[in-house]
């Protein structure tokens, strides 16, 4: 289950963060997303070590903890997409699968983001307040839950 998706700006500032949990605990997800930036930074700063190729936007699994997983995606403009999920037994092969994996999810998320920031009334570098974007993201999250379940 995807519990949280976030867009983080190129200065590591949150642009959009949405949790999908029932409980009133968004703050902990803020924390998880924020701390996962450590890993993104590390990957970006040590591309050799992480085996990250320059033109690969999907960062893969950032955070292998026991209880949740954090995936990252880095756009060319250094905007990061972070996904927190509690699905623990996703295999790496599935993650990178462009048809139904998390990489696919990020592609769609990226498209939604691009549409949102293309709005002439959006100030770049500011929080995304578009409701359309929020709806679209939640649709993506829902449909991802369905496809991954199926």
């Amino acid at each position: 289950m995807i519990v949280c998706v976030a867009v983080v700006g190129h200065q590591n500032n949150p642009l959009y963060i949405q949790s999908f949990t029932e409980a009133d605990d968004a703050l902990k997800l803020h924390h998880i997303v924020h701390c996962s930036l450590d890993v993104v930074d590390e990957r970006v700063n040590n591309p050799k070590k992480s085996g990250l190729t320059l033109n690969e936007t999907f960062l893969g699994l950032l955070y292998p903890t026991e209880n949740y997983k954090v995936y990252g995606y880095l756009t060319n403009t250094k905007v990061k997409f972070i996904l927190v999920t509690t699905d623990l037994d996703v295999r790496d092969a599935d993650v990178r699968n462009l048809r139904y994996g998390i990489a696919k999810f990020f592609r769609r998320f990226h498209a939604a983001y691009v549409d949102a920031v293309s709005n002439p009334f959006h100030v770049p570098g500011k929080r995304i307040t578009s409701r359309t974007f929020a709806e679209r993201v939640s649709n993506i999250v829902k449909s991802f839950g369905l496809s991954s379940a199926g």
Partner: protein, 1314 residues
Amino acid sequence: MANYLAQFQTIKNSCDHIVIAVEDVSDLWPNIKSGFEERVPIKRASLNNKTRNPVLVENFPCEFILTTDSRLRSRFPQEQSLFWFREPYATIVLVTCEDLDEFKTILKPRLKLIVQNDEKEWFIVFVSRAHPSNDNAVKMAKKVYAKLEVDFSTKKRERCCKYDIHGPEANFWDDLESKIMECVRNTLDRRVQFYEDEIRKLTEQRFMPVWNFCNFFILKESLAFMFEMAHLYEDALREYDELELCYLETVNMPGKQREFGGVDHGDDWAALLNHENKPLTQIVQDDSFREFEFRQYLFSYQSKLLFKLNRPFEVASRGHSFIIGFSKALTLHENMLPFCMREVWVITACLALINATASRNYDGLVAPDIEKEFYRLKGDLYSLCRVKFMRLAYLIGYGADIEKSPVNSALLSMLPWPKPPVWPSVPPDASPEVLEKEKVILQATPKIKHFGIQRKPLPVEPSVLLREANRRRASLSAGNVFEVFDGRPALIDGSASDASSRIPLSKKMNTISMLRTNSSPGTFDGSVDRPMRLAEIYVAAEHALKHTISDADLWKALSSVEEFEKKYLELTKGAADNYHHSWWKRHGVVLDGEIAAVCFGHGNFDLAAKSYEKVCALYAGEGWQDLLADVLPNLAECQKMLNDQAGYLASCVKLLSLDKGLFSTKERQAFQAEVLRLARSEMKDPVPLDVSSLITFSGNPGPPLELCDGDPGILSVTVWSGFPDDITLDSLSLTLTATFNADEGAKALRSSTATILKPGRNTITLALPPQRPGSYVLGALTGQIGQLRFRSHSFSKGGPADSDDFMSYEKPTKPILKVFKPRPLVDLAAAISSALLINETQWVGVIVRPIDYSLKGAVLYIDTGPGLNIEESHVIEMETCVKISQSSAEMMNCKGTQKDCSLAPIKEFQQLKLHNGRIEFPAWASDTNSVIWIPVRAISDSLPRGSSSVTPQKQSNLDGMRTIALKLEFGVSHNQIFERHLHFTDPFHVSTRVADKCNDGTLLLQVILHSQVKATLTIYDAWLELQDGFIHTGQGTGRPTSSFFPLMISPTSRAGIMFSIRLGKVIDKDTSFIHKACYYVETKHRAFNVIRSKAVQGSCHGTLNDLMSRLKFEFASCLKKFSWITDEVEALETESILNIRYGISGERTNGAHPPVAVDGIETEDARQDLLFKSAIVLQRPVLDPCLAVGFLPLPSTGLSVGQLITMQWRVERLKGPEDNGISEHNGEVLYEVSANSENWMLAGRKRGHVTLSTIQGSRIVISVLCVPLVAGYVRPPQLGLPEVDESNISCNPPGPHLVCVMPPALSSSFCIPP
């Protein structure tokens, strides 16, 4: 083969290095042993690794053991092959011999026997005991050695070396070492080959039923162990890795369900680094090993090798993933393991790894990124340990002491509860403990946050423990074990897969019965019906844990809240420190916050504040406001406790400036109240505070305020207040920064009156003193609230402060104020350039053109120069200037907007009064061009003079120039002084010429009038007052015929008037005076007569006095009159006066115009006749000959020297006696002939009087006889009339200038023939 396991273990433990056998043939070993053993370990050795690549091993350890030693004897052949790794790797045969025969007969056969075994790698060391001084012996030894070499060494391989006991050769030891290593290498290669073959064989059988993992393990580990002995750790590690892989494959093979292990006492204490924890024999299960122990066993060997390879980083990295992986395995088997076994194991495993790697920091030995990664891993281990530790602590009731921070919530709330098959129940004798816990629970008060902030604490549990625990019990209490297991997957939320479903039912039954926590059936019954209370759950968990935990330290750490906090702090600090050394700064800082929370709880506010500051800086720096809002109140509280007013205020301001949605209005009001409370009352000293995030300001939209140099103004600024309520600022000042000059300090505009800022947008106006030219941007806003000096630097774009302001782009600093360089602000120009009439009151127009500047309240001072006079009594007129072309800029405007242009000029007209030389401008004139008409009269005393056509007089404009000084006061201190030249002129310039001179002496005097003004002049009358010596012809007054008038003269054109005059008598001045004086006296004669007669008649004294005074008066008037007459005579007689009565019709906007009626009774139709007077000088004709002298022609023969000739002049009287100006003496004329006496000789009277009749036309001839004396062109004698002015003499015909005198004619009588 598994039977050998125990033996294998003992062998492994007993030998850890390579053995080299020494075959001491000649009993030499004791003598040379020390020398040999000194060489061990061998410094450098070259070996082949598994892939047959040479590897250099340093400090290669080995041991020399005599073949006779017990350790090398009595081994069974099977053992030998199985544990081959412990057999000697080389055999050194020590021999000595001093006799060749002995060698041949005894030694050689014996050696052959020894070395015949192919299995062995051997070489011979020949020990020479010959003393170097004993040559014979030395020679002998050499011979024997040579023989030995021949017999045992082959071409392929040297197998002999010679050792001199009295002093080995220098290269002996190297030789020895290389030979040893050669043997070892060969043996090792052979044995590796052997093991590999064996392993391959086994691997091929892997999927057969006979396959036994233990056998495979022994072979594999033997190989690994051999590598390890040879210091080929890499290869050894690879073997273990392969072993692990193979094991994991077999252990997870379906169908083979094995015991997991981990149920023994002490198993909770992770043994992942302790390979001696349990003998392998204990963990053998069927043909394999128990997973729990064996995986730890493998990992311990891997880590041992990694440490030997000096790769602690890999230990940590593999260890971390091992723990995670192993923890999963534990989860799968959780229902068979003791309560919380998994958590305890992870804690101990992490601590073990941390301790093992703690002393092995790289300290710059490796690449920095590896080092950082190492620290990161250690941080991870600490963190993992910390989480599990917290979980345990929560279970036993320390949950209240766990900070409900985001980090703890993130870690704990998604971590599932332990899943024991049955939740432990309360031991029977634990009721006091339960009471104790309940007391604690009741006493625990929820932490009240500062400022009365109320937030639901973040969860640190995945679900409510009470429910979870009771559910696990309740399901059991149903009594149907099968139902419990079958039904559970449906009950559980499904977040974690449940391993129990995979376990066959029969096993499940066993597991239940095996449960350690299930202490007695009695307790079951006692609490089955009633759900446990929270305190009971805690106590039960505590008791269960006590059973589980075998690590005394860990148990101690959980024994009390204090100990828990100690351990918690230790783990948190460990994690934070390591993260700080790694890339993961955020993790470190966040954990610092956790440390701060503990410090805060203990009242150590100083430390807490420092850590909180770091956390806040991290969140604020990247704009994570939600997280910041969670921590910042804590920091504020610390600062408050520490009495750090500045910090506390800054925190309050920061809290206020956070996103408005993060705090309720009430909370925000509390923040503001705190700020105000401090500012107004508590602080003693002023405290500076940056409120940039809270109070922002910007200039008003639109163009900047534009001011001219030196002008004050009023600046309007928009200020956004982020305070939730109105806030009163005691004072406010705003700095302006000049963009042109950075050095120039910012100028502050102050408003000392209190300003009240409403929440949101406020407009503030500030008085702006005059500024230097340039453009200014807003600098900073400062102000004072009580003792608080606040300061704001941030601009807003015209909206409220951006919530994440740190991110905002560099805002363009829009100038708010532009002060222009000194420039003309107004221009005063004369309205017309053409000349005005002099000596008449004329409208002088001054165009006032404000240049983008308001002339509101302007005052014009007029100062006329000499020769100018303003009619102060007259009104001054002011009107809109309609000449658009005055300003090219306006022209442009007009072109652009025709419509506007036509609408724009609204004609204004106003009459103003001049008071003390100043005119106040009306309001309408402040922005538009206007023209002021001032009535001015230029005064000129001098009479204009006409010029003659004979001597044209250059007209000088300077005469008519006047200067008017205008001072315009406007703005604040702008007064500009203008000097404008005005040109005045007479209406006409007069020139005269004599048009004709008639025979009767009449002169036609043409007077040409040049119009000087741009106005039509009409001449109504003209008359000429002639000077002495001229008179008008006829008896007229000299007026032209009146029918010519009126005569119109167009602007700048000319007209002529002809006067007919003739020369008159020149009246002598004196005569004239006498005439006039006498005439006057005659008129006065009567008055004097009256006085005289009165004096004769009356004798009274009073009357006389009266008469005397009257007489005196009369005399005085006479004298006065005389002086007048003198003047008159002097004046009149020299020049004539032309009088012209004329009218003018012109516009003041064009130039000259009719004079302003000063008295104001001017009527439209009243014709104003003006009089123009001009002096004309008439000169009597200069040439007026009365005598004519004519030179009579000379004889035609020419003149020659010495020839007598007569020169004749004729003198003729041209005029009659009446108008003869020549002084005459009785009709006689004095003549004189002058000649150069060198050239001429004159005969006769050269000077004398001749009689010439005074009748006109009388003539006489004067003859003089003269002889030329020199030849050439000479001047002839001249006749002069000394008494007659030369001008009265006309030479007709004129005499020659030069005459040609020939040389004298030759005389024949004097001729002498040559």
